[in-house]
């Protein structure tokens, strides 16, 4: 019988015969740890394995993104614990200046189509955007991955979601993502791999795919793939990452455990309201809600294209007094692009606070303000509504 995309990727990384529900040992192409979880990985590693070398230092990385630069002595110490371990083991660190680890792995061509990647970021399944099997895990699992280059995994069942119809501006990939999240909820895709098909997703650019796949975690899914793509995507991804892009397709005779169809024709901008990312409403239902603070960034919406769109909408306008508006580029590369293309200046003139790259807002803990986010758990289109 044929295989789904996830079954093919796992089969490429194990000697055992892969079938859904079976636990197999899987070889890992990339093993990573962030500043969150990373210090525990180092502690576990030193307790269990002393100064024994990691399985392959060229496949092992630290990515500091959660608290970059550190906001407290504790965070600074934790990052230093990782740096010193990395020096001793001769492991590459993408330090606090580099931005969100999952994005850096894509930019550097380290997470590529068909690869297996683990790390301490619970949203590492965002790598499905480039056809890679990314998976967030706890520090015990990542310690073991550092030492052995392997992990065990229960091959997930795959569901097929057909997205019918198409959407157009001002509706964006983020609105599509929220709408699909609303429709699928948190049960349909739970613990499953999801293959998304249909015109609306086939045409997504790489940043749109990143936005879309970043929220499979919120659907409680293991990983999401968009196996079909338009002609320009291959060139776009290869130019972007320097890595060859030849993702797997599912076999025609593969087996899905479930299917769903969602129609998105005429989709309008969507907003996720507290306290669940799947609690999604049409933006028109929220007319009149006053906003204290806005945010655009995170692994979901921190690419140059997201910030360019915001700057277009804000051109010649000012953020209202009493409202704070923060922009955080996903990575140093995005920072450079918005600097060179004048996007940063446009946002600055409108009154935005522009921070250095990283996770920023999603790692903050704020309860009192009424926030509108264009991020993972976002209130999108703040600029048109809130200024």
């Amino acid at each position: 019988m044929g295989k789904t995309v996830i079954e093919k990727i796992i089969q490429d990384h194990t000697k055992e015969e892969v079938k859904p529900g079976k636990i197999v040992w899987m070889d890992l192409d990339i093993r990573s740890a962030r500043d969150f979880g990373g210090p525990n990985v180092v502690k576990n590693y030193e307790e269990e394995y002393g100064d024994a070398p990691v399985a392959d230092r060229k496949k092992t990385f630290f990515t500091f993104d959660l608290c970059a630069p550190p906001s407290s002595l504790k965070y600074a110490d934790n990052q230093q614990i990782c740096r010193e371990f990395a020096r001793q083991q001769d492991i590459k660190v993408f330090d606090v200046d580099r931005g969100i680890g999952s994005h850096v792995l894509i930019e550097k061509g380290l997470a590529r189509a068909g690869s297996t990647v683990v790390g301490t970021d619970s949203h590492l399944n965002i790598l499905g955007a480039v056809g890679s099997f990314g998976q967030g895990m706890g520090d015990v699992d990542i310690t073991f991955a550092f030492k052995t280059g392997k992990t065990w995994f229960e091959v997930p069942h795959t569901i097929k979601v057909l997205i019918k119809g198409s959407f157009s501006s001002p509706t964006t990939a983020k609105d599509l993502t929220l709408f699909i999240l609303k429709k699928l909820g948190t049960k349909k895709a739970a613990l499953k791999a999801v293959e998304f098909y249909g015109e609306a997703v086939r045409g997504l650019s790489l940043p749109g795919r990143i936005t879309f796949c970043s929220m499979v975690t919120e659907m409680a899914g293991i990983i999401g793939f968009i196996p079909e793509f338009g002609d320009s995507l291959k060139t776009e991804i290869e130019d972007f990452s320097g890595a060859q892009f030849s993702p797997y397709e599912a076999d025609e005779d593969c087996s899905y455990s479930d299917t769903a169809e969602i129609n998105v024709s005429g989709l309008s901008p969507q907003v996720a309201v507290p306290f669940s990312p799947s609690n999604v409403q049409d933006v028109s239902e929220l007319r009149g809600v006053k906003i204290d603070s806005g945010f655009i960034g995170s692994c979901t919406n921190g690419r140059t294209e997201d910030l360019a769109l915001a700057s277009q909408i804000l051109k010649g306008k000012k953020i209202k007094e009493g409202v704070t508006f923060k922009v955080v580029p996903a990575t140093k590369r995005v920072y450079k692009e918005i600097l060179e293309r004048g996007i940063l200046e446009e946002l600055f003139r409108s009154g935005a606070i522009i921070s250095n790259p990283g996770c920023s807002g999603c790692a903050e803990n704020r309860e009192k303000e009424k926030l509108i986010w264009r991020a993972r758990e976002s209130w999108p289109h703040l600029v048109s509504q809130g200024t």
Binding site: E16, I23, D141, F144, K147, W152, E154
Partner: protein, 181 residues
Amino acid sequence: MEKSFIAGRIWVLSDQSNKLIEDIDTDQIFHNAFLHVTEVSQMGQYALGNLEGWKDFSKKARPGDILVAGRNFGAGSSRQHAVGCFISLKVGLILAPSFGAIYLRNAVNSGFPVLRCQELDELVAKKALATGDEIKVNFRSGEGLNVSRKTHFKAEPMSAVQYDIYEAGGLFNYGKRISKG
């Protein structure tokens, strides 16, 4: 010959209508008020301490006892304590139709035996499995024997991976073993 079975007295985690309790989450297994406890040996006293009807479990359990639970045992947040408390009490095995994904990872990584058994709801409903019964399960084949009632049942055997880690005494030990070879 290598050991391939686990035997012991069972506790059926059922409600007052004799149905297996489903979706027992990690907070019911190990209350978050005691998460500061880091020594596994100290965790046993809190086992099931937040599950209505079972709060005195740690006083009743004996080393080697087996837990029979409903589907999705160990749902919810990741906490190693929810596995550690049973290791501390020397519980021999947990049987359930299914486990929470992270709970399963934590249990397997700790080398603590958990097995899936799809027949449990039916066995409990027809009273072919009840608290106090002595059972014996071959975790390599999945063959189960209710020694008290002389009846048979079938669990899912350990996968090769789970067995490797169990036999090595946990994931880290397994890591030492394979990276030597």
